[in-house]
């Protein structure tokens, strides 16, 4: 498999805080790679290192086959478009002026493709409106348009849906999918909105405390996500005793509910609970999703 970005033991330590701790990662070319992690897990720090905003304490990365220690890493970075934390746009310039500025910065003809880019992100009608008068969603889209100037092969987006309304989130999602499918752009995206990420990503990297906990494809995630039975009962203590006796894995989710994993004989379970004097109120099948899979990996896991 062809990888557009790999990291080897990437470490970043600030004065009293270890942001990245030997991170190893591989981003396949042409993928939408979703980076999932808690606040402070190291996602933004990783992006800053790749984009040259900070230097790693230890370790390295390879971008388009160019090692981070090589002098031509700057040339490799020119093929990357990034929106890290907030879009790098001038608030007192219009959308078109921001794009013209970016084209000049990249040494491209100043007006080439600006109209097309604005149309791609849905900002073609903004005219002379300054970026400071844009909504948050419009600024995010302008940030993406600016990142796309110069036709990058890799787009790095740091929580692009942050602060957006549902309509804005849908627009960003559709834009990312279009970029990936129509232009073949590899997208490296971090997000807290796991449900949204699960509609986008073809690959996932789950990061916690500066380390990569698991990397897997969307197909592998489907296989790894387990079906479970959610039982609502009158006595979770009795339920726990019965399940322990049956050798079943479970997770108590509330005072009256538990998720039971593995193959279950419902008849045996209800009979055992009846013997303990515990009533079963509801039983329903549930699929584990990215959110519960993530939580089970990084914390709040099974008992």
């Amino acid at each position: 498999m062809d990888y557009i970005l790999t990291t080897e033991g990437l470490t970043k330590k600030y004065k009293h805080f270890q942001a990245l701790n030997g991170l190893n990662m591989k981003v396949p070319k042409g993928s939408v790679y979703g980076l999932v992690g808690r606040n402070g897990a190291g996602k933004t720090t990783l992006f800053r290192l790749i984009c040259g905003l900070q230097e790693p304490t230890r370790g390295s990365f390879t971008l388009y086959g160019v090692h981070s220690c090589k002098r031509n890493i700057a040339s490799a970075r020119r093929r990357v478009g990034a929106v890290i934390e907030s879009p790098a746009i001038y608030m007192d310039m219009t959308a078109e002026e921001n794009l013209i500025y970016r084209h000049l910065l990249l040494g491209l003809p100043s007006t080439k493709g600006t109209a097309e880019l604005l149309k791609l992100v849905g900002l073609e009608g903004t005219g002379k409106k300054k970026a400071r008068n844009f909504s948050l969603g419009m600024r995010q889209r302008l940030g993406i348009a600016v990142a796309l100037a110069g036709d990058p092969d890799l787009l790095i987006l740091d929580e692009p849906a942050n602060g957006l309304d549902p309509q804005g989130i849908v627009e960003i999602r559709e834009l990312i999918l279009r970029l990936n499918r129509e232009r073949g752009i590899t997208v490296l995206i971090s997000s807290h909105i796991l449900d949204e990420l699960s509609r986008l990503a073809t690959h996932y990297g789950i990061i916690d405390s500066g380390r990569m906990v698991r990397e897997l494809s969307a197909g592998e995630l489907d296989a790894a996500c387990r079906k479970c039975l959610r039982a609502e009962v009158t006595d979770t203590g009795a339920l726990a005793r019965v399940l322990d006796g049956l050798g079943l894995r479970y997770e108590i989710v509330s005072a009256t509910e538990a998720d039971i994993l593995g193959e279950i004989s419902v008849t045996r379970l209800t009979a055992a609970l009846a013997a303990e004097g515990c009533e079963v109120l509801t039983l329903r099948e549930r699929d584990e999703n990215l959110e519960s899979y993530f939580i089970s990996l990084v914390g709040g896991g099974e008992k």
């Binding site: 800053r48 040259g52 905003l53 934390e85 790098a88 608030m91 000049l104 910065l105 600016v146 110069g150």
Partner: protein, 277 residues
């Protein structure tokens, strides 16, 4: 580097603050020119002969604060809008970004200074008398451009290390004031006469004393160091230029180049190590 310059000048062209500064300086330059001529004519009527050399450059110390404030405001917005971050992300080196920002700020600062010098030149043409002559005026003009570059370099150093816009503006102004105070103090001490005489307060009464060596007069290596430091500081050269006490010498430009080189060197070193957020 050329891409950074082109894009930086495009940014400057679109910057309302730059145009506001330029218009304000242009208007003030026109008013200043007339004020200088009127002031000279009044002084001649009142006192007979007066040297126009000692009046024409009286605004020299204030060119620094204009350059510093503009650079701080400009770079403050570059920081807050994420523009410096954006330039690094697309693969430009830290050194190139720093130097390009310096050159863009210098372009603006020199625009303001040239307008001021034009008003001085217009006043000189009207008055018709300048003891230092045209060549002296040219040396002074180049010295002004050089010390403006020096103070701009100091502002650009701060602009790349301080990320809070408001704090940057305040800190830049404070540094300029501090440099002005230091230069003013040095100038005062160096201006002390070698021989002094007059009154002394002894045993509760004022007593006339004979002329004698002034204890405040600096001599030897200390004097040399103070003179060198005064000419190294951009505010020092500006204060000296104020009363035409700055030597009419191309060495002024060398002193400013040294100060500029130190500021740029230090700025490059610190900016390269800075973690950008």
């Amino acid at each position: 580097m050329s891409r950074l310059m082109y894009s930086g000048l495009y940014r400057l062209k679109k910057d309302k603050v730059f145009w506001l500064f330029l218009i304000a300086v242009a208007v003030y330059a026109v008013i200043l020119s007339k004020m200088l001529v009127n002031s000279y004519e009044y002084q001649v009527m009142a006192n007979g002969f007066v040297s126009f050399d000692k009046m024409v450059f009286e605004e020299a110390p204030y060119t620094g604060i204009v350059a510093v404030l503009f650079a701080a405001l400009f770079l403050g917005r570059e920081q807050s809008d994420g523009a410096i971050r954006g330039r690094l992300t697309v693969g430009h080196s830290r050194g190139a970004v720093f130097m390009a920002d310096f050159l863009v700020c210098l372009t603006a600062a020199w625009s303001f200074v040239i307008l001021w010098l034009m008003s001085c030149a217009a006043a000189c043409l009207t008055v018709g008398e300048l003891d230092m002559g045209v060549s002296g005026f040219i040396v002074y003009a180049l010295s002004a451009l050089a010390f403006t570059a020096a103070i701009t370099a100091a502002a650009v150093l701060m602009g790349h290390l301080i990320t809070n816009k408001a704090f940057l503006v305040v800190a830049a102004a404070a540094v300029w004031v501090l440099l002005l105070i230091i230069a003013s103090g040095l100038d005062d001490r160096l201006s002390e006469p070698e021989i002094s005489g007059g009154m002394a307060y002894i045993d509760g009464e004022f007593v006339m004393t004979g002329p004698g060596p002034n204890p405040l007069y600096l001599t030897g290596p200390v004097r040399t160091v103070c003179e060198t430091l005064l000419r190294l500081l951009p505010t020092g050269q500006a204060i000296l230029m104020n009363f035409a006490d700055l030597p009419v010498s191309p060495a002024n430009i060398l002193y400013s180049l040294v100060f500029t080189a130190v500021m740029l060197g230090l700025g490059l070193l610190l900016f390269k190590r800075k973690d950008i957020k």
